[in-house]
Symmetry: C2
Subunit: 293 residues, 2 copies
Amino acid sequence: MQLIDGKAVAAQMKAEMAEEVKQIVAAGGKVPHLAAVLVGHDGGSETYVANKVRTCGELGFKSSLIRYEEDVTEEELLACVDRLNKDADVDGFIVQLPLPKHISAQKIIEAIDFHKDVDGFHPINVGRMSIGLPCFVSATPAGIVELFRRYNIPTRGKHCVVLGRSNIVGKPMAMLMMQKTEPGDCTVTVCHSRSENLREMCLSADIIIVALGVPEFLKGDMVKDGVVVIDVGTTRLPSSTTKSGFKLTGDVKFDEVAPKCSYITPVPGGVGPMTIVSLMHNTLLAATHAIYP
Amino acid sequence: MQLIDGKAVAAQMKAEMAEEVKQIVAAGGKVPHLAAVLVGHDGGSETYVANKVRTCGELGFKSSLIRYEEDVTEEELLACVDRLNKDADVDGFIVQLPLPKHISAQKIIEAIDFHKDVDGFHPINVGRMSIGLPCFVSATPAGIVELFRRYNIPTRGKHCVVLGRSNIVGKPMAMLMMQKTEPGDCTVTVCHSRSENLREMCLSADIIIVALGVPEFLKGDMVKDGVVVIDVGTTRLPSSTTKSGFKLTGDVKFDEVAPKCSYITPVPGGVGPMTIVSLMHNTLLAATHAIYP
């Protein structure tokens, strides 16, 4: 069993990107600039955005944080998106989700210029990914593909089971794994809460990507020997043994599943660290016009 | 075994749409208008476009046919698309594929205003379908979903295997069958030329949608009893027994597979007739602004 060290891969990618930014700047190019819009004071969102801003600093990116209180109107937020769309210095930007209920997240996402949509949530980027065209791929799926690539894990012709069909992870993950590329070229099965045969599907899988948000859902008796397991789950469970008072728990019962795996991602330290790095990578792609001219 | 009569369902949908057009016109509304752009004189394309124009007539739609010779430039075609985008009388239009090699089909597709993209090939419509938002769904997958609906075939929780991963059929079909809707809500597996385990996948399937373009690919010993089989294949094989000199052949070895099925579509007369009707339905949705305001 080999542990997939997302933290190490993320560190390596950060070093590569920091080097690229140095070269860009040395050649008189523009410093990549990521803007983040944060509404309210949700603890999780505060942490995520702070990490994004800090990582920008580490890589030599410029970052901007635009804050609104919970009572911001949809019109104000749309006006902000419009300003960022038009701001030539901003290469890419994100609006941190979730948003307050009186604001349509979908409306905000669709208002973002897809050329700057480094979260990859805009329908154009989703559609281009499905068709197999260059696009911004959302961060978590992009990070997982990068783990397959850097660990040289064979995927062609394999049976990849994706547990979960969210727009942010499950569906794009399935789309990426079925494309005629490597990593990719898998037989892909998407299972979800309604699946009658989830257990037998998992037992037949060469690769399982679990994104259900159900702590320790995947048990040892649901996987075959030699399987590759990618755990996207990050549920905060209360804990008396940690300083923060909670423990990040994955969707995989690690002690049971890991011994049967050829490769497995831990939680924390697996997929998590790749997500922010993928967002940074998208920002770099935006700044260098590598996706769209 | 029940035969799914696509021809009968298509006839019923046509009657419903013709009635709706009558009511629209009687209420002083606008006659739905579909335009088709045809480049060159490919036999298949000529037939498809002629059928589309004829069906418009049957339903009381207005149709326009814009013809170009093989040597039309990409610029001329893009200018045509631009004119149709701006023509307020045109509710929806298609550019018949394939196009000559010197023209980028993808560029043409992306130039079409997605509000008028009744073929559902524009990345925005593809992405919106994936996300589960209202959109124009491409004709063949939309027609197949309609067959499930009209025959009340249970799909929730079932294992649906899609053979083929084309942008026009396989991928959108998979996306539709995994959505939280009925028809839909399936466990979905996409198999293709690289799949190592295609046979066992088919044997475990409750529903098989075959879109490989390989005549008689699916054999009797590849399916379980009670399976639902949808045959998207339409290969023209030479034949000495037909007037036209060819015979439309599906991807399913019908005589072997049909006896094991609960439902099966024949070729011809199954999926085929639904495709044009779905395009007409999209045009009606465009004319009535049912998808986009």
